[in-house]
């Protein structure tokens, strides 16, 4: 998909063509509008599952963040939960220290994670391949161990106690049914999605895809690869931190799980299952994964990972572009059939 999107502007004769191309890419499809309308359905159809729905929205936001670096820029990370965890602990600590206002909490958590992301991005931008995988993995593990050791700050193994989130706008209390939590998470998800969508359909987004496709050719045509990677990595870190902060605020607890390897692996699974390098891949993947986990864990909680493992093997063997890639393949197939028959 991306090789032709990169080739297209080069062959453009008119000077406005590249922008027109990007604008055409960024046009809203009816399926997208339908998707976002469908996210409102849980309020009406399954009000008992709003807590789950809020978890889905949080995971979707986290997966979107990973998609920006992995799917669009080709930076493989096995430690992305580090940023999720930093955001979660920042929001939690803020509340413990007496400031439980959710929206400012979100901003502070995003800012702190952004600083951490910016600092680490200098290292990330310099490496590729196995070294990069080991560095992201090592950084995630390091942070997890550090949080575990710093029990005076994080509560260590027991998690952070005494988080209390104030009502949103002073009005909407976080309730047991997850009504506020889902509305809150969904609203933030939608806003950040708009930002991510804008980034991807900008010249900068195109440059990122260029880096993913060929990391040595991009500097040769004059693209500042390292600075691009630093920028998108910082943005992705901020989004992950915001996702973590929403989890803290809506559940009013933070545990070490928030930055564990398991969470890094889970979000990778969601993204792979949904489809990498497609804005909706992480969203679909998160929904499928979380709902499936909810259903399966009711049956046999211990063996959930058996099915996840099989699913992963099946996806890389038969659906290399995830569910969305598979659907797109079917759509293409149907389209060519229809246009050929008459």
């Amino acid at each position: 998909m991306s090789s032709d999107t990169i080739a297209a502007p080069a062959s453009a004769a008119a000077p406005t063509a590249p922008l027109a191309f990007l604008r055409a890419q960024g046009r809203w499809h009816w399926a997208e509008i339908a998707f976002w309308l469908a996210t409102l359905l849980p309020f009406v159809l399954t009000p008992d599952y709003l807590v789950l729905a809020s978890q889905v929205a949080i995971s979707a936001l986290f997966a979107l963040s990973l998609d920006l670096i992995l799917g669009f820029s080709g930076i493989v990370s096995l430690g992305h939960a580090a940023y999720f965890g930093v955001g979660a602990y920042t929001a939690g600590l803020l509340s413990v220290w007496g400031w439980g206002e959710p929206l400012t909490g979100l901003v502070v958590a995003g800012a702190v994670t952004g600083v951490v992301g910016y600092v680490t991005s200098f290292v990330i931008a310099r490496f590729r391949h196995l070294a990069l995988i080991m560095i992201t993995l090592g950084f995630g593990l390091l942070l997890q161990e550090a949080a575990n050791s710093a029990g005076w700050l994080t509560g260590g193994f027991n998690g952070l106690q005494g988080v209390h989130t104030w009502p949103i706008f002073g009005k909407f209390e976080f309730d047991l049914y997850g009504y506020t939590a889902y509305a809150y998470a969904l609203a933030v998800l939608f806003l950040i999605f708009l930002v991510a969508r804008r980034i991807i359909h900008s010249p900068f987004g195109l440059a990122l895809r260029g880096i993913r496709e060929n990391g040595t050719r991009m500097p040769a045509i004059g693209a500042p690869t390292h600075s691009h990677i630093r920028t998108i990595y910082t943005i992705a870190a901020i989004i992950a931190g915001v996702a973590g902060a929403i989890l803290t605020q809506s559940t009013e607890t933070v545990s070490l799980e928030a930055l564990g390897f398991q969470r890094s692996a889970d979000v990778l699974v969601m993204l792979i299952v949904g489809g990498t390098g497609k804005l909706y891949g992480g969203l679909i993947g998160a929904a499928v994964y979380m709902v499936a986990r909810d259903q399966f864990s009711g049956l046999n909680p211990q063996y959930w990972y058996f099915w996840i493992g099989l699913l992963l093997i099946a996806v890389v063997m038969f659906l290399p572009n995830g569910i969305l890639g598979g659907l797109a393949g079917i759509a293409d197939f149907v389209k060519t059939k229809w246009t050929k028959t008459p």
Binding site: M134, G138, F139, F261, T276, F306, I313, M317
Partner: protein, 286 residues
């Protein structure tokens, strides 16, 4: 025994185990650039084979070790033929996803068959206890581990340095395309190397139970250590893996003994620094 010697001794024994479990991954990664996160699942399989044969069938401990080796080798060959060979040219991400899927399946399967508890294992009486030498106490089993692993290492080095097979392996690690051009059947070579690596991991798993314990999370816990050994040592380098495994073993033991509050922070920090300093590892060629 003064603590320094105890920590050093335990660390070396631990490092020997890590070396056995990781050397196969290092060579196969260096040869085919295939990121096999499931390597520790072979070690776990070896461990469960040893435990089962000893506890259910009452085999002697030493008889179970070849069985653990064969189980690891057989499992790795089967997986290599069915799955891995299709992914040699795939992206690292796809390789990671495929093999982590296998890890998840193996962990859940182990939990299903054996439960999540630590597996009990009774070492033969002649491997228990300790001997005193020059006023220092040495645990016999750990001494045995060091000697056994050292013998295997020597065997491995001799095989790789002085046999035709070894020369072919070194050629393939050094430059796979050139090796193919010279008429070396790299695919078969790789399958054999993969089997050997899986077998050594299985053997390491069998030997590890008495020191590290065995439960279904083994495949994930020690995967991280094995990856550290491989990436710090440098891909395809046996000497590198050996040095890295010793360093990691001693450093981990020392960290746990002297600064338990920091947990494994030290290990990860050192690993990060080494990889940033030398991205291809201490002994890496690329």
């Amino acid at each position: 025994m003064p603590p320094v010697f105890g920590v050093l001794f335990d660390g070396v024994a631990y490092g020997m185990l890590l070396f056995l479990m990781s050397v196969g991954l290092s060579v196969t990664l260096g040869m085919m650039n295939f990121v096999n996160l499931a390597h520790c699942s072979f070690a776990m399989l070896g461990g469960y084979v040893t435990v089962t044969l000893m506890n259910a069938l009452h085999w002697p401990f030493f008889a179970t070790l070849p069985a653990a080796f064969i189980a690891g080798a057989a499992a790795s060959v089967v997986l290599e033929r069915i799955f891995f060979r299709r992914f040699y040219n795939a992206s690292e991400l796809n390789q990671c996803v495929l093999t982590i899927g296998i890890v998840f399946v193996s962990v859940a399967a182990a939990a299903y068959i054996y439960g999540t508890d630590q597996q009990p294992m009774q070492l033969p009486s002649y491997l228990q206890g300790s001997i005193t030498f020059l006023g220092l106490d040495f645990a016999i089993y750990r001494l045995f581990l060091i000697v056994a692993a050292a013998l295997i290492t020597i065997l491995l080095v001799v095989t790789l340095e002085w046999t035709r097979f070894g020369a072919q392996v070194r050629a393939a690690v050094n430059n796979q395309r050139m090796a193919r051009g010279l008429g070396i059947d790299v695919d078969t070579l790789f399958a054999i190397t993969f089997a050997l690596g899986g077998g050594l991991a299985g053997l390491g798993g069998g030997l590890a139970i008495a020191m590290l314990g065995l439960d279904p999370s083994f495949a994930l816990t020690y995967l991280i250590y094995v990856l550290i050994v491989v990436s710090v040592g440098g891909l395809g380098s046996i000497a590198g893996s050996f040095v890295a495994a010793m360093l990691l073993g001693v450093a981990d033991m020392a960290g746990k003994y002297y600064v338990p509050a920091f947990g494994s922070v030290l290990i990860y920090l050192v690993m990060l620094v080494v990889i940033m300093w030398r991205p291809s590892g201490l002994f890496g060629r690329r």
